[in-house]
Symmetry: C2
Subunit: 161 residues, 2 copies
């Protein structure tokens, strides 16, 4: 049971774009170099975040990626849902309805069984925790923010576009 | 992000074996017929539960599977962990340490980053919820328990071993 690597990529890109918000959009080339990730692959992974209204991308020489809304209005859950879909790790195939054991069942099968109920409750606890934290909170590390801005200035100064 | 189907199989088998505890061990053939599951495949899926001390299996004509400890001492988390391993759905590849963005980082990288911290907190909330519920609780449906015992009696009476 694993989330895709794009969850880590997407969250770190959101945080970094939050720190660099006043520098304008960041090109995909720079964003890929930032984390040493494959450029085309990263672009593909960020597109669901654009479709979900979390990131915006603008075309052109000075175009690139930026947060599409305020970082305190983007929860970790928003990013995970955009990248992984509506997460329900437990798959209920209703095996209780099958085979010899199901014979003569009454209205009890109209309700979800205890197994599914507990699993859904746990998934809700997980989602609630992710929904309680925003990109703005993840940005609240002054030393990382400062390093990011410093490195970005150097990157811009040293690389010919 | 999905758990394997063996989680549903394993939990329902535990609950059913709990209801049938006073009938002695249940053969793998009967357990497979119970949920209309493939016998050899089910056996393979239950073996991790035996290794984890959740189920016991005894050999011989009257042998079979049973709970290895009291159902109020088996949590849903125990079963999930036995089948899926120590669940950490979020995979942190430490991409923050890579590429241009990581240059000049100080002791901040000694601590887990905010992204990983939030993801681990959510996983903890999920695990806590699963650890708060036992097989005994899932067994607390008198109508399902009664149907199970009734169908099992019929199964024994009608099938020549």
């Amino acid at each position: 049971m694993r989330m895709g690597e794009s969850v880590e990529w997407g969250l770190h890109c959101c945080v970094t774009l939050g720190w660099l918000a006043d520098r304008g959009p960041v090109s995909i080339r720079r964003l890929a170099a930032w984390f040493d990730l494959p450029q085309e692959y990263l672009k593909k992974r960020l597109q669901p975040l654009a479709r979900a209204g979390i990131l915006g991308s603008s075309p052109g020489v000075h175009g690139g990626w930026s947060l599409a809304r305020s970082p305190d209005e983007i929860t970790v859950m928003d990013v995970v849902t955009a990248l992984e879909g509506a997460v329900e790790p437990f798959r209920c195939a209703e095996i209780r309805r099958r085979g010899v054991g199901a014979r003569g069942a009454g209205p009890e099968f109209d309700r979800p069984c205890g197994v599914t109920t507990v699993m859904r409750r746990a998934e809700l606890a997980w989602r609630r925790e992710l929904a309680a934290h925003t990109i703005a909170e993840l940005m609240a590390s002054p030393e990382s923010a400062e390093r990011t801005r410093r490195n970005y200035e150097r990157m811009i100064a040293s690389v010919v576009e």
